[in-house]
């Protein structure tokens, strides 16, 4: 059989060394390039909370720790393919009968183990860091239901009576402690820009802390399959300055804990804006319905250009305040939120219905 | 023929299979199967654990629903004794004492069915008192665990029934009685399992 195993131990080691050096070189080079590439990729959405930075750092550490392993294995295999592939004439040849090497085996058991435990320890501290309670936290109660989120600002925040809203307003740099509940099935409250998520579980109250630290509007995503409307269970988190936040709270309290702020802007209410943008709390109708006049083309709900003509204003109002009363052919029950009556002021509702009644003509 | 023979089947195609272990395949198979069964119960006990301990809901009596400890206790005694008769039957088979074998199996069947009957009776009473699986999670757990066990008693009885039929048709000899032994093991398992269920659902 193959001559190799008749090598003297010395020849053995020579052959090994001859092959090892270039291998090590290739592995090291490719690993470093791999790490650099891995770090160059811009992985995350813009960080907008104090939790984001440590998590992103941990990510980079993981890239540095694990990419070499992947690329290393990769490079090693390719090297072997190139170096040890069967050449013509070797059809009947075997490799040397090497059964193992204890030192090697110990090394590649211990090193990964140490690496792993190190990473676990580090992650543990990061976890402590991102989940620790902070001073003057603001509590916000989040309720998930098919298929929308409702945010309640308790007395502790409003000073007056609690406020409910379908849009999340939080002041910049203020630690927020979310108490998450669910009315029906599992949902998951996730703000990618803030990196944190937690399931909304029927029957228990789950909690998650985030400290938004960058002004702007960020999408809130439901990350747990909750049924047919799961993909549309999206809302907006508005991070505003403390003043604007107080202003917003005030305006909401005046308007009896329902409408206000947001798009409709108060005074002259425009049904079309309500339809396309919502009133700052209510989900935009356009998010689910196509309506030529409003320039929306979503397909979750019926195409209103088609269905509206057949409806009286009363039916339209009915369909908005109590959508599940009768279900439009071909659509699932309970997708359209049934909370518009709470979230829209009577005036806004009238305006909306009036608008829809006009466009259907 | 020797160990690696097929289940309930005494003839295998050439060449004779190896027997690389002293354990008989049938016994080993049954033991492994029992491990699976234990895990099924394990899962139902998990449900019990979560609802009673983790969710911390209080346990019977709940909302003045009582579980008939005493009746079930008697029932336990019945089942335990059926294990003894089963053992007796097996001994009979081993020593070629057909009378023992038959009567032992019959007694076991009798006791086992009594157990089932009593339990069904208990269900009927409880539901009449209003404790259905639907009124409380505790109810679901109770019916789940005991029901699962009841189903196993039923399976055990069916296996024993087969053994009995064969016994009366003159099968089983002192050196060929696997058909009694294997169902017997299963029956003992069902028995032990009940003791766990009883103590955790009724007593604790």
């Amino acid at each position: 059989m193959a001559a190799r195993e008749e090598d003297t131990p010395i020849q053995h080691r020579q052959k090994d060394r001859a092959a090892v050096l270039p291998m090590v070189l290739i592995v090291v080079v490719s690993a470093t390039t791999g790490v650099i590439l891995g770090l160059l990729i811009d992985w995350f959405p813009t960080p907008a909370s104090t939790q984001a930075d440590p998590i992103d750092t941990l990510w980079d550490v993981l890239i540095i720790a694990s990419v070499p392993i992947f690329v290393g294995v990769q490079a090693f295999v390719l090297y072997c393919v190139w170096r040890f592939r069967m050449r013509p004439g070797q059809e009947l040849q075997d490799g040397p009968p090497i059964h193992g090497n204890t030192t090697l085996e110990v090394v590649w058991t211990v090193i990964p183990a140490v690496l792993i435990l190190g990473l676990c320890a580090y992650s543990f501290f990061i976890l402590e860091d991102i989940e620790e309670a902070k001073a003057n936290e603001m509590r916000i109660n989040v309720t998930g239901q098919q298929f929308t989120w409702t945010f309640e600002y308790p007395k502790s925040v409003t000073g007056g009576k609690p406020i409910r809203s379908a849009q999340l307003y939080v002041p910049e740099d203020r630690p927020v402690h979310f108490y998450v509940k669910s009315q029906d099935v599992l949902h998951d409250f996730w703000v990618p820009a803030w990196r944190m998520k937690i399931d909304a579980v029927p029957g228990i109250e789950t909690k998650v802390r985030m400290t938004p630290n960058r002004l702007g509007r960020y999408s809130i995503v439901c990350a747990e399959l909750c049924g047919i409307g799961h993909a549309y269970m999206r809302q907006t988190a508005n991070v505003v300055s403390q003043e604007d936040f107080d202003e917003w709270l005030r305006s909401k309290q005046q308007r009896g804990g329902t409408a206000g702020g947001g798009a409709a802007g108060g005074e002259e209410i425009d049904g079309k804006t309500i339809f396309t943008e919502g009133n700052g709390e209510s989900t935009a109708c356009g998010a689910c319905h196509a309506l030529a006049d409003a320039g929306t083309n979503a397909t979750t709900g019926p195409n209103l250009d088609k269905v509206l003509p057949g409806m009286t204003p009363e039916q339209i109002r009915e369909a908005i305040v109590d959508p599940n009363k009768e279900i439009e052919e071909g659509f699932g029950e309970g997708i359209m939120p049934d909370n518009f009556e709470q979230l829209l002021t009577p005036e806004e509702l009238d305006a909306l219905v009036k608008y829809l009644d006009e466009v259907r003509k | 023929m020797e160990a690696a023979a097929l289940p309930h089947h005494d003839h295998h195609g050439p060449p004779p299979a190896n027997s690389s272990s002293r354990v008989e395949p049938q016994l080993l198979g049954m033991l492994l199967f029992i491990i699976s069964e234990i895990m099924v119960f394990g899962a139902f006990f998990t449900a019990y654990f979560f609802i009673r301990v983790v969710a911390g809901s209080d346990w019977f009596p709940v909302e003045d629903f009582e579980l008939p400890k005493v009746v079930a206790g008697v029932n336990t005694a019945i089942l335990v004794s059926s294990s003894l008769t089963m053992h007796w039957a097996l001994e009979g088979a081993k020593h070629g004492n057909r009378a023992h074998l038959k009567s032992g199996l019959l007694l076991t069947l009798l006791l086992g069915s009594t157990f089932l009957f009593v339990q069904i009776n208990e269900y009927v009473n409880l539901t009449q008192e209003g404790l259905t699986p639907s009124v409380l999670a505790q109810g679901s757990v109770f019916y789940g665990l005991t029901g699962l066990h009841g189903a196993h008693v039923f399976i055990g009885l069916t296996l024993l029934l087969f053994a009995t039929i064969r016994a009366f048709r003159g099968h089983f000899t002192p050196d060929e009685h696997r058909g009694v032994e294997v169902p017997g093991i299963y029956w003992h398992f069902v028995d032990v399992m009940w003791i766990l269920v009883y103590s955790s659902v009724y007593l604790l």
Binding site: V77, P202, A231 | V40
Partner: protein, 630 residues
């Protein structure tokens, strides 16, 4: 074929009987309690889903023997008619020959791969662009739920059982499995389970659409289609438990003389470990679906918080099976790779014993990590810490395997044919999948990436780049032994390169869009991800098409390929020492095992010798003449 003798007609008849039975049972009970309507379609369907398959199996004759036995009738003496397949028809009849069953298993599961994959193609088409393309949300949810369930429960798990069914008894020098009839039964459960899951698409309210995880309470309020999963899984699960028992008993009691545990090929070790996992873990998914069924059918309240139920309990029970399940879907693959790499690198497996022990280590650790799927589920937060550590530690035994395979390549004489290419592809791709797994294990990362496409990427790197690559490697490797024909090498290589490239193009970018914030299980997504998704869709279509090359190669070679030698790879393990395909009873003489399975490179080394001490003679030309020395 008369209706009285076992077979398809009788199976059909019994199926109808089962239907009638369910109808009668339900209606009579409802009549008894005076519920109306006396005929409740859902209830009947529910009972029928359990009864009809069983009735059909009885009609098909799979229980005949046991009925005879039970009734104490003289059982028909075994005439071995149940052994061997002499025409393609024999593959469509109940057969107790492990080789026939192995092929039945393998072919059936590949059919399911194609179906499951086609569903994936539909999903990708829907995801090609934001907004609704051609399926509505409910259909889409159904698509990925069935996609996953089919591919996990009816492709990966059974196909491994199938390959092992064929080679394992041969490898340990046994004439058959320990319980051939049970073996046949476990096979015939599969087509039923799979058909049931697929039929759910025709159920009123659509197919089950709660993911393959079927989380309560969503799975309790969803339409009847859900129960096609709830019950279908029971059959699939029963099948794999039965097979696992069979493997364990076979391995323990039927090894050839001299085949000590540490002389077993690693594939046998792998299936030994896997079977342990199956026997211990599978009952938990059975139970989790029992809970759902009880809640739906009999009004139990396991998951109704208002009545003291606990929603998270479902997830714990489910994952206590389904994490071990992911190793059930990987360990047999590890076994296959060990066989192939040793043979194709012409070297003994590096660190054989550690390879075996690491398998057992994975089995043990596998039971201690389930809650890493629940880091954001709202469970008691302290549980996350121990789970993080155990989860990450699994990287160590797995690493031992990866590194040992690499070391086996070192200074071998690598034959880069199709099986080897897939083996090397596995080596690299699975490493990546495993590493993303370890990233999940780090809780802060998981909090962000859980339920995103990063998970989808991980899933496919471990399940496709891991399991499927090993399966394809195994299929090419044993194809000559199973069919007695040679596959087309160049087509095989083409298949590998297409698959390898488009696999990475399809699932690689999912890592990025996942971290960037695209959630999984959505049929519509924000414009931001449009570009990547289009590219993924296109390449996954090509990935799908690459399977056509495979399909053609297999079918054509099976029908008209060149005859295969008994031992084309010059392998030492026992299955290669018999003709291709093997004789009906595997061995005319039971071999005696005299050495390790991978003694390549040692002149004249053999694994087993046959009666009369005759050295296993290798087919002409394959034998290693001294002349071949450098």
């Amino acid at each position: 074929m008369s209706l009285r003798s076992a077979g398809y007609p009788r199976a059909g008849l019994f199926g109808l009987l089962g239907l009638a039975f369910s109808y009668a049972l339900v209606s009579s009970i409802r009549a008894l309690y005076g519920w109306d309507p006396v005929v409740d379609g859902e209830a009947v369907a529910r009972v029928a889903m359990l009864a009809v398959p069983l009735f059909m199996l009885v009609g098909f004759g799979l229980f005949d023997y046991w009925f005879y036995w039970a009734a104490g009738k003289p059982t028909r003496p075994e005439d071995h008619s149940g052994h061997g397949a002499f025409s393609w028809r024999d593959y469509f009849r109940p057969n107790t020959d492990h080789k026939v069953i192995g092929i039945q298993y393998t072919v059936t599961s590949f059919v399911f791969l194609f179906i499951g994959g086609l569903l994936a193609m539909l999903m990708r088409a829907e995801l090609a662009q934001p907004g609704r393309q051609f399926v509505d949300a409910d259909t889409y949810n159904g698509l990925f739920s069935v996609h996953a369930s089919i591919l996990i429960f009816l492709f990966i798990i059974p196909v491994f059982a199938g390959l092992a069914n064929f080679v394992l008894p041969l490898m340990i020098g046994a004439p058959d499995m320990a319980f051939p009839r049970l073996n046949a039964l476990s096979y015939w459960l599969l087509p039923l389970a799979g058909t049931m899951m697929l039929l759910s698409f025709f159920a009123p309210g659509g197919s089950f659409a709660t993911g393959w995880t079927a989380y309560a309470p969503l799975s309790e309020t969803s339409p009847i289609g859900q129960e096609f999963f709830t019950i279908g899984v029971q059959f699939a699960g029963a099948s794999s438990i039965a097979t696992a028992l069979n493997f364990l008993v076979t391995i323990i009691t039927m090894r050839a003389p001299g085949m000590s545990f540490f002389r077993m090929p690693l594939l046998v070790w792998a299936n030994f470990s896997t079977s342990l996992l199956v026997v211990i873990a599978t009952p938990f998914i059975a139970a989790s679906q029992f809970f759902i069924l009880l809640d739906r059918a009999l009004g139990f309240r396991y998951f109704d918080a208002a009545l003291g139920g606990d929603v998270l309990m479902y997830q714990h029970v489910f994952w206590f099976y389904s994490h071990p399940a992911v190793y059930i879907m990987m360990l047999p693959g590890f076994g296959i790779i060990s066989e192939i790499i040793a043979v194709k690198a012409r070297k003994p497996i590096f660190g054989y014993r550690m390879m075996a022990f690491s398998l057992l280590a994975i089995v043990v650790l596998g039971f201690t990590v389930w809650a890493h799927h629940m880091f954001v589920s709202g469970m008691q937060s302290w549980i996350r810490i121990p789970m993080m550590i155990t989860t990450a530690v699994i990287a160590v035994p797995t690493g031992i395997k990866i590194f040992s395979w690499c070391a086996t390549l070192w200074r071998g004489v690598l034959r880069l044919d199709t099986p080897m290419l897939f083996a090397l592809g596995f080596l690299t791709m699975f490493t990546l999948g495993g590493i993303s797994g370890v990233m999940f294990a780090m809780i802060p990362i998981d909090i962000h990436t859980s339920d995103t496409y990063f998970v989808v990427a991980h899933i496919h790197y471990v399940l496709f780049g891991g399991s499927v690559f090993t399966i394809l490697a195994g299929v090419y490797y044993w194809f000559p032994k199973m069919t007695g024909r040679m596959y087309d090498e160049s087509l095989g290589k083409l298949h590998f390169w297409l698959t390898f490239v488009f696999f990475n193009l399809s699932f690689g970018p999912m890592h990025l869009i996942g971290v960037k914030g695209m959630p999984r299980r959505v049929y519509d997504y924000s414009e931001a991800f449009a570009g990547w998704n289009l590219m993924i869709t296109i390449s996954s279509l090509c990935l799908g098409l690459s399977f056509l090359v495979f399909a053609y190669n297999i079918v054509a070679s099976w029908r008209g390929g060149p005859r295969a030698a008994a031992n084309p790879w010059r392998a030492l393990t026992l299955e290669w020492q018999v003709s291709s395909p093997p004789p009906v009873f595997n061995f005319d003489h039971i071999p005696t095992v005299v050495g390790g399975p991978y003694e390549y490179g040692t002149p004249g080394a053999v694994h087993g010798v046959f009666k009369g001490g005759a050295r296993v003679e290798q087919p002409a030309g394959a034998a290693v003449e001294p002349s071949s020395r450098e």
